[in-house]
């Protein structure tokens, strides 16, 4: 018998809901079978914690006296986007502090950026706000330099165009003579290491591969607070190839998320610096999945063995689109510590924290058990595989120079 989200919420309110993590669900289904598990379990919690570059925060500072239209804004010397109303800005996590040597001396260290500003704000630290305006009749002030804290902001919310990628590449380096520095960490030359970045069996979208319960309006755990999914994430590409478990065999679905910075915990909002690559934010996200029926029980019991990811060369293959994947490998193999690529044994290194992903799934489970977190029904679904939505490349249409026109 199928269940509804409303029925599950009723059980949560009464403290009777059976809530388990996606790891625990694997064992339950193995012991009881999917049919029994679909009846006995109401909610499966998932979690992921890793770098999520398409993230940032909207902040409103309140008005200065006299008023000012802050068209250029810096927070701890990191440029924020001020092309909004007078005292609003958006700080993106990959923005690097002004004056950073970047990759001029390769590999750069990228010590401080937007992700670190957001972490410092969430941690309650003072942040230096510097702003410039061009002066108008209504907003005459032109300069500002002041310390601010998160609590001083009127509103401050994380608003991320793309999070929680459903599956991802496994990165290796085929170069014979050069270590490379990527957003998946340092890749040692000559297939010296392989990086992967997904919580696998604990990862939210891998537990609801067709986005049946995760959609627009879904309440989620984000950075330690309760937030929401507000749209399909950028590059959402549900139409990619899937294996017999419905699991995409490469990057596929994504979500756009929002959450109140003031309710977040710096444990789950951590500024990150990728050597030779740049700044970002490591963020924790967790999504509860209602076990509505047998299919959802089966999906939420997905195991690392069932999830495969493409192995991609990041020395040439990824940056220059040379050649296809070097093969596919399961998360169970990745987590064994080594995989085989082109006949060579390659040690693996995770970039996302499975320990913290598990902690988030547990945290979410406890919140639901205590009745502090209720489930939502999506207001609208994310585009499904049958939507035909695909990830497009940029078609360049170079402009014609005056000389050519003449």
């Amino acid at each position: 018998m199928a269940k509804t989200v409303a029925e599950i919420n009723e059980k949560i309110r009464k403290g009777q809901a059976v809530v388990v993590t996606a790891e625990e669900m694997i064992d339950i289904v193995a012991e009881e079978g999917v049919r029994k598990a679909a009846k006995s379990v109401d909610v499966v919690t998932t979690g992921t914690f890793g770098p999520m570059c398409s993230s940032g925060a909207f902040l409103n500072f309140g008005h200065t006296k006299p008023r000012m239209k802050m068209s250029k804004v810096w927070l701890n010397d990191v440029p924020a986007y001020g092309g909004l109303a007078a005292v609003d800005c958006y700080i993106g996590v990959t923005e690097v502090a002004e004056g950073d040597p970047l990759n001029r001396s390769h590999p750069g260290e990228f010590r401080y950026g937007g992700g670190h500003v957001i972490e410092d704000l969430v941690a309650g630290k003072d942040v230096l706000l510097r702003a410039e305006g061009y002066g108008t009749d209504c907003y005459p002030r032109r300069e500002l330099e002041t310390w601010i804290k998160l609590e001083d902001c009127n509103q401050a919310f994380l608003c991320n165009p793309r999070n929680a990628y459903q599956n991802y590449n496994v990165a290796v380096n085929l170069s014979k003579d050069r270590d490379i520095y990527t957003y998946l960490g340092v890749l040692k030359r000559n297939l010296g290491s392989a990086s992967f970045c997904s919580a696998g069996q604990l990862s939210p979208l891998l537990n609801d591969p067709y986005y049946r319960t995760i959609g627009i309006g879904t309440r989620i755990f984000i950075g330690g607070a309760q937030g929401y999914i507000f749209w399909q994430g950028t590059q959402h590409a549900p139409g990619v190839a899937r294996n017999e478990h419905g699991v995409p065999t490469g990057g596929a679905g994504t979500i756009a998320t929002v959450g109140d910075l003031k309710a977040m915990d710096p444990r789950y909002v951590v500024g990150a610096s990728f050597y030779g690559y740049g700044c970002t934010l490591s963020l924790g996200i967790g999504i509860p999945i209602p076990v509505l029926d047998v299919d959802m029980a089966r999906f939420t019991a997905v195991r690392d063995e069932d999830i495969v990811a493409p192995i991609v060369d990041y020395s040439r293959g990824y940056p220059y689109f040379e050649g296809g994947p070097l093969g596919h490998v399961s998360y169970a193999e990745l987590k064994s510590g080594k995989i085989t690529v082109q006949g060579k044994e390659v040690p693996t290194t995770p970039i996302s924290s499975y320990v913290r992903a598990r902690e988030i799934a547990e945290n979410l489970k406890e919140q639901i058990k205590k009745g502090e977190f209720l489930l939502t029904e999506p207001l609208e679904r994310l585009p499904a595989p049958e939507s035909g939505l695909q990830f497009k490349m940029l078609k360049e249409r170079p402009l014609r120079r005056a000389k050519e026109v003449l």
């Binding site: 960490g185 040692k188 610096s273 987590k335 290194t349 995770p350 499975y354």
Partner: protein, 135 residues
């Protein structure tokens, strides 16, 4: 070429002397100041890395001692700031001695300081900069 890392302690009366610059000129050494705390009217402290030929390096150190500077060799230490470590694992294939390693079952990432040779390779590689140098 050899490198030596040392801690130099300057007694108060020597703080204003250009000891470092004369030493490196005389013995043709390169240097890199890793840390300096020189406050007037108290002892000065400097952690410095000299590099140059073996013999001039040793002579330079002898010279420094003669001027009254206290010279202590160091083992720089690398420690893990547990509060900043997210246990991601991005460091484990970088560490040459497996001082940083992941437990394949629990997925916890451990740091065994006994095995650490303070090569510092993990320091810039750790995304949350949890690996720190101490003196």
């Amino acid at each position: 070429m050899a490198t030596r890392r040392v801690v130099l302690r300057f007694p108060q009366q020597l703080i204003d002397e250009p000891i470092i610059s004369t030493t490196i000129k005389t013995y043709d050494l390169d240097f890199n100041i890793l840390r300096a705390e020189i406050t007037p009217a108290s002892e000065g402290l400097m952690v410095i890395e000299f590099s140059g030929q073996d013999k001039p390096l040793n002579d330079a150190i002898r010279h420094l001692k003669k001027t009254g500077v206290k010279v202590e060799p160091i083992g720089l230490d690398v420690v893990r700031n547990e509060g900043r470590c997210t246990e991601c694992g991005a460091c484990i294939t970088i560490c040459p001695t497996a001082a940083l390693y992941i437990d394949l079952e629990s997925r916890h990432v451990y740091f065994d300081s006994e095995k650490c040779i303070a090569c510092e390779l993990c320091v810039p590689v750790c995304p949350s900069r949890a690996m720190e140098l101490t003196f």
